[in-house]
Amino acid sequence: MNASPFANLNRRQLLQLAALVGGSAALAACGGPAVGEAGGAATDKATDWTTVTPAKEITWWSNHPGTSKDLETELIKRFTAETGIKVNLVTAGANYDEVAQKFQASTGSSNVPDLVIASDVWWFRYMINGQILPLEALAAHLEMDTADFNTTLYNDYEFGDSHWAVPYARSTPLFYYNKSVWKKAGLPDRAPKTWAEFDEWAPKIAATSITPLGLGKGTSWSAWWFCNMLWGAGGAYSKDWTLTLDTPEALEAAKYLQKIVYEDKSAAVTAKDQVADFGAGLTGCTIASTGSLTGLLDAAKFDVGTGFLPEGAKGVACPTGGTGLAIPASKSPEQQLAAGMFLKFLTNAENTAYFSSNTGYMPVRTSAVEGEAMKAVYAEKPQFRTAVDQLATTRVQDWGRVFVPNGDKDLTTAIEKIMLQQADPTEAFATAAASITKSYEENVLPYL
């Protein structure tokens, strides 16, 4: 039997083989980012849109927020009937983060979509990476009525005098309460106006043998609803790029959170899903997305009441969330124009009302809020009206959370240390602030 060729390899042959393998690998390693070249946001290339013919076919990456695949398919059908442009709907992930991961990884490949979901914590990263197009010129060419967008929702996507996305499936946190529990506790049929009033009501709710308030956890969530307590106390995560977690107001908000969890025991952090806990009757009230409204109304075996988030000592405070739509910068003008036409169609008054009434997300145009479609929804589900009315109280989010990579994650860790481990708020926030500042300096500042 012949021995293996390897058995007879001398040192020189072994080195030759190693060089062959190594050299091939080195050749294969070509590619990746251009090192040393200036990066940053894409610029408006001054495309003369009047000379561009829209592409016949485009691709849209979505996660179908609010289980909206059928709705999106229907909207595509209507768009194609109107324009003749075919839209390929791709399920690019189960949530915003998964879509974002795929979209970022697609850079430089031939798989970049023509239109992509751009959530409140992701669009800025797309922008500084130069992945998306500033929309002013295209919107003007398409005569898109941007003034009709809800101002807060539209300005969430503004940076450097440009808008980089438009609102699509947008939500706010909402206060949900169990009307049966409220009745049993002898409370008026409404949400508490302030956190001080909640503190007064909590013992009465607890007396019905139920945890008064269920709080959510996890990234994209804890630091979102905590905006309400933080802003209500007069604090903020950041002012522009400067972290403000060490202010007395921010620390006061954190201490209040600890008080209701550990001292008053009027709030408990969910094991898994605070919406499921509330729907199952484990908690008397909770803070959840407006996007959960339709599902909760269908699933709960009790009457669900909704109200504005409670005010803090410094007044009303409500963040916005959800996702917008952005157009990749690397596509051809023809594809970008077709994507722009579809984007305009998806977010027009009629279609935003259609999407909103079937999911629970906000109508993103002010003209849609009082339209016939939405009026029918308010008549059927009065709770929805509260969610829409609360839009007027919203404000744009703090940059430290939504614009800095890891911002939301570091804040979530701090808030969860505070509410799950009774950690010292000063220390937990200081750790988060140091990490976010470092991330800003490394991952944002060089690209601005």
């Binding site: 012949n2 200036a38 991961q101 990579p405 991952n443």
Partner: protein, 297 residues
């Protein structure tokens, strides 16, 4: 005496070698060496994964990782997870294999039951066990309540979340260890055991001095494969805890994913991947040295 010149390998043998090995070598280059070298290259860059450009920053990603206060926790979690899943898996797997090696009724079915979880998808296993551990609705909570105990807060307490993951990982993977050990046990010559028994060795002495040394090569093989698999485990963590609560289940492998894709710091993530690669290389080299000295074939 003049040394005899070694006979050169005939060119036909080389051609044959290339014909057989070529496709594999090509696949290795494309899917193993290329990513490995690219990862090393990226680890020296400050690169947001979605960006077409990057900056060369030397070893900053490495110094940042080693000086990050979070690193100690990630290493601690990785070590605990690895020690318990590898050590626990080997002990449990061997115990199960010894049981399954007995000639009893129903061992065929028992073998299938033990091995079945190994072929299931990690995500499916994770989701399934989430229902079991759920403090409010899970069967485990109900059982504990029935005996007057309250359920630990598996999902919110990092001290409990990691043991939960270890239990699920063991449940899924112990069948693999048991299967390999079972095959090795069946290859142990009966006459050696009979001879030892005739010499007066009890069951334990027989196992300790005859069976266990003969299982040496299998133990070595399993220690390498289960260690690599444990250090690279991702699916169960992603399905059950996503590295939380409070990063209490963030292993190095999970951190690589989080930093690379969730945070988008591709350079930093590549640096951690390189560190993990070097650690694995060292551990495997040490194992190889041990096997040469201690394991008897």
């Amino acid at each position: 005496m003049v040394p005899q010149r070694k006979r050169r390998t005939p060119w036909k043998s080389w051609l044959l070698f290339l014909a057989f090995a070529g496709p594999n070598v090509a696949l290795l280059i494309i899917f193993t060496y290329k990513p490995l070298i690219q990862s090393l290259q990226y680890s020296l860059l400050q690169w947001n994964i979605g960006s077409a450009t990057a900056r060369f920053i030397g070893l900053d990603n490495y110094t940042n990782w080693f000086s990050d206060p979070a690193t100690a926790n990630v290493v601690r979690v990785t070590v605990i997870f690895t020690v318990f899943t590898v050590g626990g898996g080997m002990v449990l797997g061997l115990s199960l294999a010894l049981l399954l090696n007995r000639k009893l009724r129903g061992t065929g079915l028992a073998r299938t039951v033990v091995v079945a979880p190994y072929v299931l998808s990690g995500v499916a296993v994770g989701l399934l066990w989430l229902f079991v551990f759920d403090p409010n609705f899970g069967i485990l909570g109900a059982v504990l309540k029935a005996v007057g105990l309250s359920s630990p807060d598996w999902y919110n307490d990092p001290q409990w979340a990691l043991p939960m993951l270890i239990v699920v990982y063991l449940w899924k993977n112990v069948g693999y260890v048991a299967l390999i050990y079972l095959a090795a046990l069946q290859a142990v010559p009966r006459d050696l055991i009979e001879a030892a028994t005739l010499d007066g060795a009890g069951a334990w002495a027989c196992f300790r001095n005859v069976v266990l040394p003969l299982l040496g090569p299998t133990t070595f093989f399993l220690s390498v494969t289960t260690l690599l698999s444990s250090l690279q485990s991702f699916d169960i963590i992603q399905a059950m805890t996503q590295g939380g609560p409070l990063e209490g289940t963030t292993t190095m492998m999970y951190q690589i994913y989080q930093e690379g894709f969730a945070t988008g710091r591709a350079g930093y993530s590549s640096a951690i991947a390189t560190v993990l690669f070097v650690v694995l290389l060292i551990i495997t080299a040490v194992q190889m040295l041990v096997v040469q000295k201690k394991v008897h074939y």
